[in-house]
């Protein structure tokens, strides 16, 4: 059961965060809020989202799990006026969720939970390096890199205390270095991994709105991005597997 009201802006952000990785997911509903954990079909990117009850204007829910077509939901939400308040209504055992806003009543069919991939286990990964930068800056670096290549390297140089992002194309090269002093947080460690921009472009667009993004890095290891939405009431974690060139 779910009965809740939420600002459209907040809901839109939450939907976009998930839509950057998967097109359908299982939505876990509990009295504490909503939670999603999903990986894309290629097992390369993972999203964990926890949207706490305080992010909603009103929130009442019992434990349940439903299957959602996120791409469809994203299109619906895109058409809603930002000023409207959205109400979500899902009776117990229902096959449809009702979205109401500004006089409209939208009832969307849910997916059978069994047809949607199970929530993955969180892989246990040690990522020693950590930096915190502005989401907009991260997105700019991703956009710049995609002009020259299809992959980007994130790394930390503990010797001269810098965090760097670099991309090598067939003919061109792009490099961005940020000194530890200019970063909000800097935990040095030998770290460098290569990532596919295909995935990062979608993630970057979403992260560009976040004031701070925590980046956890290792050597030829996945990268973890952690940031908040909904004024701190929603926590998002992205995990992205690297590309390893030497084999």
């Amino acid at each position: 059961m779910l009965k809740a009201a939420i600002d459209t802006e907040v809901f839109k952000e939450a939907v976009e965060v998930v839509a950057a990785i998967v097109s359908e997911c299982r939505l876990n509903i509990s009295a504490n809020g909503l939670a999603v954990r999903a990986v894309d079909t290629a097992n390369v990117a993972m999203i964990s989202l926890e949207l706490g009850a305080p992010a909603f204007n009103t929130f009442a829910a019992g434990d349940s799990q439903i299957g959602l077509d996120i791409s469809k939901l994203k299109n619906i939400v895109a058409s809603i006026n930002k000023a409207d308040v959205l109400t979500l209504d899902l009776p117990d055992g229902a096959y449809k969720m009702e979205l109401a806003y500004g006089g409209f009543k939208y009832s969307i069919s849910l997916l059978d939970v069994n047809t949607v991939r199970k929530d993955p286990n969180l892989p246990s990964i040690q990522l020693p390096g950590k930096v915190v930068i502005a989401g907009a800056e991260l997105n700019n670096a991703i956009k710049a890199a995609s002009l020259v290549s299809d992959k980007i390297a994130f790394g930390i140089n503990p010797d001269n205390e810098t965090f760097y992002m670099e991309a090598d194309g067939d003919t061109d090269h792009i490099n961005l270095e940020i000194k530890a002093a200019d970063l909000k947080t800097f935990i040095p460690a030998e770290a460098r991994s290569l990532f596919s921009l295909d995935y990062l472009k979608d993630m970057g667009r979403v992260m560009s709105k976040a004031e701070e993004v925590e980046i956890f890095l290792g050597k030829d290891h996945p990268v973890k991005f952690v940031f908040t939405i909904a004024g701190g009431e929603g926590k998002v974690e992205y995990l992205l597997a690297p590309r390893i060139e030497s084999d």
Partner: protein
């Protein structure tokens, strides 16, 4: 850009600025028998042709030949390149100035008769008088099938009744159905791509007030692309295939090797024009293009062949209801001496997808199999998708 690189991308469209393509005009000399000029034609017309020159005031009209005009038919009959060129040499392309602006497709007396020819699945008899005696001028082009003769029409009459399949009648009579939806419905209704081209070209598809004549060259790619887009969103819902599989097939010295890898739709096509083949010079020329699950925006540097090949692969995936990442290599050897149109690639790829697939252990073995079929590993260093497949780790590897 080197000359041969430009030739491979242009395929006779005149990018170099010469008045006549030196490559296509050399086939002219290869033909022994050239028909004598004549002033009128009475006989079968299997299809229509709309030119793209000076759009929207284009020239279009019926094709006149008693022989098969449908590439799918040529493949079934096993025609050789020589057979096809000979057949096309004696084909007449009738033309009349047509206005291809929106909504103009129902006007004009000629439009009616062109539309009757186009809508018919079987060739129908027509009688045509030409302005001047028709003379021989064989034209080749990368996208279109070649044509030998062309003449301006003075008067044209349709002598026969069109044979119209029920679905074609239904779709073309619906003035509220968009052209893209119409094409897809026809395709799903079992109408072959060649017939859809005719119907689209003659301005019989789309919302009534938007209907217009569509130049055949543009129509071919428009159909390949629109149907592929639909099939692409359809297969995105399916689970990935279970094994790495490699397919191989060839038509008219165009060898297609296609590797399917489990995963979400990605498509990469590598076109290799071998040394001394038609468009290439004295070294291999390679053009690569690719796409991911997002829709593709720019026109492919490979040209119409990209869209034709992609359609054939998507048809296969839609049949087996599976999703996959695809690397497709097209190798054109020097035996492909005359450009016959992108249908060659569509049919060659269909031929490959119908072949017995080779199952492979992993992408590495798959790549080795592709190399074996291609007779070389030139494709490997041009394939970005392969590098990605080999280097991308999964989250559960850690």
């Amino acid at each position: 850009m080197s000359r041969s690189q430009q030739c491979v991308q242009c395929k006779g469209r005149g990018f170099c600025g010469l008045p006549k393509c030196p490559i296509t005009s050399r086939f002219y000399a290869k033909l022994k028998e050239k028909p004598r000029p004549f002033e009128s034609y009475m006989g079968e017309s299997p299809s229509v042709f709309i030119g793209s020159y000076s759009y929207p005031r284009v020239a279009g009209g019926p094709m006149m030949t008693a022989q098969a005009d449908d590439p799918e038919e040529w493949v079934r009959k096993g025609c050789s390149i020589d057979d096809i060129v000979a057949m096309r040499s004696s084909t007449v392309r009738g033309s009349k100035t047509l206005n291809a602006a929106a909504g103009k497709a129902f006007l004009a007396r000629t439009a009616d008769s062109i539309q009757e020819v186009a809508i018919s699945q079987k060739p129908i008899d027509i009688e045509v008088a030409f302005e001047k005696p028709v003379s021989f001028d064989l034209k080749f082009d990368g996208t279109l099938a070649p044509v030998g003769l062309s003449g301006e029409i003075k008067k044209m009459d349709v002598l026969d009744n069109a044979f119209v399949p029920r679905i074609v009648d239904k779709i073309t009579s619906d003035g509220d159905l968009r052209a893209v939806d119409g094409m897809y419905e026809l395709f799903k209704g079992g109408i072959d791509v060649h017939h859809i081209q005719n119907v689209l070209g003659a301005g019989l598809l789309g919302i009534e007030k938007n209907r217009r004549f569509v130049p055949t060259r543009w129509g071919i790619t428009a159909i390949d692309d629109s149907i592929s887009r639909r099939l692409k969103s359809e297969i995105m819902k399916y689970p990935p295939i279970s094994d790495v599989t490699v397919f191989s097939g060839a038509i008219h010295a165009n060898h297609i090797v296609c590797m399917l890898v489990p995963g979400d739709w990605k498509f990469e096509m590598i076109e290799i024009w071998e040394k001394n083949s038609m468009w290439a010079g004295d070294s291999d020329v390679i053009v690569v293009d690719s796409e991911t699950k997002k829709s593709k925006n720019d026109y492919s540097p490979i040209g119409g062949a990209y869209y034709s090949a992609r359609l054939a692969v998507l048809e296969y995936l839609s049949d087996i209801r599976r999703n996959a990442e695809v690397i497709l290599v097209r190798r054109a050897t020097k035996d492909y001496w005359a450009p016959l149109g992108t249908w060659v690639i569509r049919e060659a790829t269909r031929n490959a997808m119908n072949s017995q697939p080779v199952k492979c252990e992993d992408t590495k073995e798959g790549a080795d199999t592709v190399t074996k079929f291609c007779g070389g590993d030139t494709w490997l260093k041009h394939s970005r998708l392969y590098t990605e497949l080999r280097t991308q780790k999964s989250l559960f590897d850690f």
